[in-house]
Structures are given as structure tokens and as C-alpha cells.
């Protein structure tokens, strides 16, 4: 991991223009370094997903990015002002530079089109000069990369298990060599054993391909295991941002402490968790 930034957000505020307006993200500044896994932890409604969408300009009305700067530092050395991108430029920027894996994305595969055509679609849209032969090879390569047998290329979504579908979605997100992947609860709907396999895959790919990851989840123990750094969000603000080790060993903010205390230890002492219910 280098200390070279790949994505910086400065003073980002996002508001839902409803009545009364909801300030979902308040003046958040965040730097993502090349090749790191940054965990974004928080509970439902804390603004973590909204922030991620804002970084990628995926906000849909009534959500509006009210102020702030988002800059992408490309490998080539040029800086891209994400906020100012035109519609057309934005289309190439997304997926090409920053890709996304959504919560329950495995259910967003098209049920009537084979995996092959869906991978091809991404390539045709973003790499129009690629020949069919090359696309085929790339599609097979991508599936191998995420640990799915390329023989599955001609399968349809319903023929794959939930875990495999999520792997295919990751393959699609990887298709264009993005430098940043934003993952929003990518494994929440999956069983722990499957989840573990996918996490391992993501970490392996990160080592091999060097992309940076913003990993959004409410599952702090999981983040502690996989992240380099963790940002804890509460009510639209980042209340603590530190290396995973420090978050675990020396949490500063009371909310972080509370979150950590919410997970009874699997193997250790009972801690806060008192079955007799004396604390409640």
C-alpha cells in the first residue's frame, strides 16, 4: 500500500430535498489511498450509502450533493473533478475508473440473458474497439479471476447460487480495470461460509490488481478483519477514522466503543453480554 491518494472527498454535504430537508451527509472529508481497503461502518440511516453514491455521482433525486469536492487522481497523473463531469464523461468515468457492487446486486443480473452476454455488454459499451474474440477471452478470464468456472459463461442467473451470482457481479465490476471499487454491503445477504469465500476473493484480487476498495457495511467485526482503515459514521458524520487495529484496540469515540461492545465475543469472555439480563 502506498500513501498516494486515489480519491479525495472534501467537505461533502448531501441533502435529501424533502420537507423538511434531511442532511444525510454533513461536511465529510475522506481520502482513499491507492490499493487500500477502507471500511465505512455505520448503522441504517447513518448516510454511509448516500456518501458512497455521492462519491460516484449516483445520487438520485431527491438526494442532492449540496457542496464539497470529489477529486479522482488517475494513474496517469491527471486529476478528475468528479463533481464537474459532464454526463458523457461521467459515463466513461464510472465503471472505467470507479466501479460499484451493490447490496443484493446478485439479484440485479438480467434473468433472461446469459452471463456471457452480460459481461459482453459491459465491454461493448466501454471498449467498443474490442473484437468479439477478445471479449470472449476477457469474459472467461474475468470469471476465472473471481473463482467461477468459465464453463458457467452460458448459464443464466437463476442457474447460479447466490454466492456465484455475487462473484459474477464482482467480475463485471472488475471488467474495465477500475482503480476504485465501491462495495455496498456486498455480502450481507449471503451465508457466513459463502461470505468468507467472497471476502477472501476480494482481498486476493486487491493484492493482485491493486485497486482500492471502499467497503460499506454495518458489520464492524467483518470490517475489522478485512480493512486497512475504518471510518465510523454516525448521523451523517464521520466520527472516527483510523487504522483497523487502532479502532479495535483504542476506540476513541463513545459510539465506536458502543458498536464494539455490541458484539459478544465468539471465543472470549462474555463482556457486556449478560444473559441474566441484569443490565437491561
Amino acid at each position: 500500500m502506498t500513501s498516494e491518494a486515489v480519491l479525495t472527498a472534501r467537505n461533502v454535504s448531501i441533502t435529501y430535498e424533502v420537507n423538511p430537508p434531511v442532511h444525510a451527509v454533513k461536511d465529510v472529508s475522506l481520502t482513499l489511498y491507492r490499493g487500500e481497503i477502507l471500511g465505512l461502518a455505520g448503522e441504517s440511516g447513518c448516510g454511509k450509502t448516500t456518501l458512497a453514491y455521492g462519491l460516484n455521482r449516483l445520487l438520485k433525486p431527491p438526494a442532492v450533493l449540496r457542496s464539497g469536492e470529489v477529486t479522482f487522481h488517475d494513474e496517469s497523473g491527471t486529476d478528475i473533478d468528479v463533481v464537474a463531469l459532464s454526463k458523457e464523461a461521467l459515463r466513461t468515468f464510472r465503471w472505467d475508473k470507479v466501479s460499484m457492487v451493490f447490496q443484493g446486486a446478485m439479484n440485479s443480473l438480467n434473468p433472461v440473458i446469459s452471463i456471457r452476454s452480460q459481461l459482453h455488454d459491459v465491454l461493448i459499451t466501454h471498449r467498443p474497439q474490442m473484437r468479439a474474440q477478445e471479449r470472449d477471452e476477457r469474459a472467461a478470464e474475468l470469471l476465472t479471476l473471481v473463482g467461477v468456472d468459465p464453463a458457467r459463461l452460458d448459464s443464466f442467473a437463476h442457474e447460479l447460487s447466490g454466492g456465484m451470482r455475487q462473484r459474477v457481479m464482482i467480475a463485471m465490476a472488475l471488467a474495465l480495470h477500475p482503480q476504485v471499487m465501491i462495495m455496498d454491503e456486498p455480502t450481507t445477504a449471503l451465508d457466513v461460509v459463502v461470505q468468507r469465500g467472497i471476502l477472501r476473493e476480494i482481498m486476493r484480487l486487491r493484492e493482485q490488481l491493486g485497486f482500492a476498495v471502499i467497503f460499506i457495511t454495518h458489520d464492524l467485526p467483518l470490517l475489522l478483519e478485512i480493512s486497512d482503515r475504518i471510518a465510523v459514521m454516525l448521523q451523517g458524520e464521520i466520527v472516527e477514522l483510523d487504522e483497523a487495529k487502532n479502532i479495535y484496540e483504542r476506540p476513541q469515540h463513545p459510539y465506536t466503543q458502543k458498536l464494539l461492545g455490541s458484539f459478544p465475543s465468539l471465543l472470549g469472555e462474555r463482556g457486556d453480554f449478560i444473559r441474566t439480563g441484569a443490565t437491561s
Binding site: E225, K245, F263, P264, R275, G277, S280
Partner: protein, 286 residues
């Protein structure tokens, strides 16, 4: 203890004997049988908690639904106080009086159309716990028992006006309303925000102690299973692959599947280990 409580009667047990459930699966023209639950037996005692642990598709929720009489077992029996349970009529009503269930998703288990008060009045009325003028105070007392105070404020709310944790408390109050002796809790906290899970589990533990409830705790979370229950049954594809006292199962697992599950469960104290493992692996291959 509130006036709404019927005396906790019976010291009997809820016994599940060789429970089997087959589902017919149709794919195109073919019909095949899927065994969701295979020969599951256990005995639920008052004041004790059994955790049924497994992944989705392991059959743990089907066991819960069979005990709650939402599904009929293909074979096998459920005995309450030593007698086979009834499936119809007044005897079924008496069974429901004794055995209640808390569902996983508090956003789905409360009818969006009705108030909280309605959700609690009905079981009180049906099971003759309270009626007429006693109904309202009984509802408020129930709400206060699950820490939703003041009761009259919450009774007037509708589900969408409350948070997930508050809804699940209402669902728990509803299950307690008939004066149940046994409670089936199907992943009661998995849909809730992490910081409030412990509160809901502690609430369940307190109520269990107060009422001497027998609880069947269904979960995929090994950590809470360990701390919340006396005995753990690990289910895999319909079979109970391992069972025993909870600390024993978690700290000294015997079956391979239990070990896999334990290895997959997030454990904060292992932070950074996964990354190092992956790096070591890649370095090894290179």
C-alpha cells in the same frame, strides 16, 4: 408482574420427536422431494434456551414453523406436557396459548394497516387474558414490560412510525400476550441495527427469567448463540450435525461443518489476519 398475566402454569416440557419435513419441488415437469428437516429431536424445558444454529436452507426456520404450527411435519411428533399436540379447534387454541413465536423481520411481522394497540389487544382477547375495560391497561402494561414507555403513546402508533428495534419489542410483547410458556424466536435480532441487538436479546433474557420461559433461539450467529443459550444444535442441510452444551460446541467443536462455521464467523480480535493469510498464500504461489 402485571394484572394481565395469567399464572405461569405447568412445568411440562415441549418435546420434538424425529421431526421430518419434505417439500415437493417442481422444476419444469419433474417433481422431486426435498428433505428440509431430517429426524430432528430435542426437548425444550422451562427456563432453558436451546439455540438452533445454521445457515439459510439448513432447515432451522422450518423447525420453528412446525413448532408454531405454520407447517405440518411430514412425519414425527411434537409433544406438549407429554401429550401429542392438536392441530385443530379448541385444543389448537390451547396449544397457541402455551407456545408463541417471534418472527425475524419486524418490518414484515406487524400489519402496516393496524396500530400497535390492535396487535396486542387481539391475542389478549383471543386467549381470554383480558377483555372489556381491562384491555387497554393490559396493553399498556405489556408495552411497558418490553420497555416501550409510556405505553399509551406507543399503543396509538402504527408500525411505520417506529424503529426496527421498537417494532421487534412490540412483536415480543405480542408473543407474551397470551401468557405463553414457550417461545420460538426465529432470528429475532438479525434484521436490527447492531447497536440495539444486545438490548433486545437482554430484554428476551429478562422476560425469560421472569416467566420461566422455554426459548428456542434460532440464529446464524454463533456468538450470540453461545452466550444466550444453554444448549446448541448445529443444523446442516436438514440434519443436526452437532449438539451439546453451548460453550462445549463453540470452544471444542467436533463436526467439520461446525468448524467451518466457526472459522467463517467474523472475530474482531483476528483483525488483519485475513490479509496476512492472503498475502502469504499469494507469496507462496509466486
Amino acid at each position: 408482574m402485571s394484572a394481565s398475566q395469567v399464572p405461569v402454569g405447568g412445568t411440562g416440557v415441549l418435546e420434538v420427536k424425529n421431526l421430518v419435513k419434505d417439500f415437493t419441488v417442481r422444476s419444469g415437469w419433474k417433481r422431486s422431494k426435498l428433505r428440509a428437516v431430517n429426524e430432528v429431536s430435542f426437548t425444550l424445558e422451562p427456563g432453558k434456551t436451546i439455540a438452533l444454529v445454521g445457515e439459510s436452507g439448513s432447515g432451522k426456520s422450518t423447525v420453528a414453523r412446525m413448532i408454531a404450527q405454520l407447517e405440518t411435519p411430514t412425519t414425527g411428533e411434537i409433544h406438549l406436557d407429554g401429550r401429542a399436540i392438536a392441530r385443530h379447534g379448541d385444543a389448537l387454541a390451547r396449544y397457541r396459548h402455551a407456545v408463541q413465536m417471534v418472527f425475524q423481520d419486524p418490518f414484515a411481522s406487524l400489519n402496516p394497516y393496524h396500530t400497535v394497540g390492535h396487535h396486542l389487544e387481539r391475542p389478549l382477547k383471543i386467549h381470554g387474558v383480558a377483555k372489556g375495560d381491562d384491555l387497554e391497561p393490559a396493553v399498556h402494561a405489556l408495552l411497558e414490560r418490553v420497555n416501550l414507555t409510556p405505553g399509551e403513546v406507543f399503543a396509538a402508533k402504527r408500525p411505520h412510525e417506529m424503529s426496527g428495534g421498537q417494532r421487534q419489542r412490540v412483536a415480543i410483547a405480542r408473543a407474551l400476550a397470551p401468557g405463553a410458556r414457550f417461545l420460538v424466536a426465529d432470528e429475532p435480532v438479525s434484521m436490527l441495527d447492531v447497536s440495539i441487538r444486545l438490548g433486545v436479546l437482554n430484554l428476551l433474557a429478562r422476560l425469560q427469567r421472569e416467566e420461566n420461559l422455554g426459548v428456542l433461539y434460532i440464529t446464524h450467529d454463533l456468538a450470540t448463540a453461545r452466550h444466550f443459550s444453554d444448549e446448541i444444535l448445529v443444523m446442516y442441510r436438514g440434519n443436526v450435525v452437532e449438539r451439546g452444551p453451548s460453550d462445549e460446541v463453540i470452544l471444542n467443536p467436533q463436526h467439520d461443518y461446525t468448524k467451518t462455521l466457526l472459522a467463517a464467523a467474523p472475530e474482531p480480535s483476528r483483525h488483519g489476519k485475513l490479509r496476512d493469510e492472503v498475502r502469504a498464500e499469494l507469496a507462496g504461489n509466486a
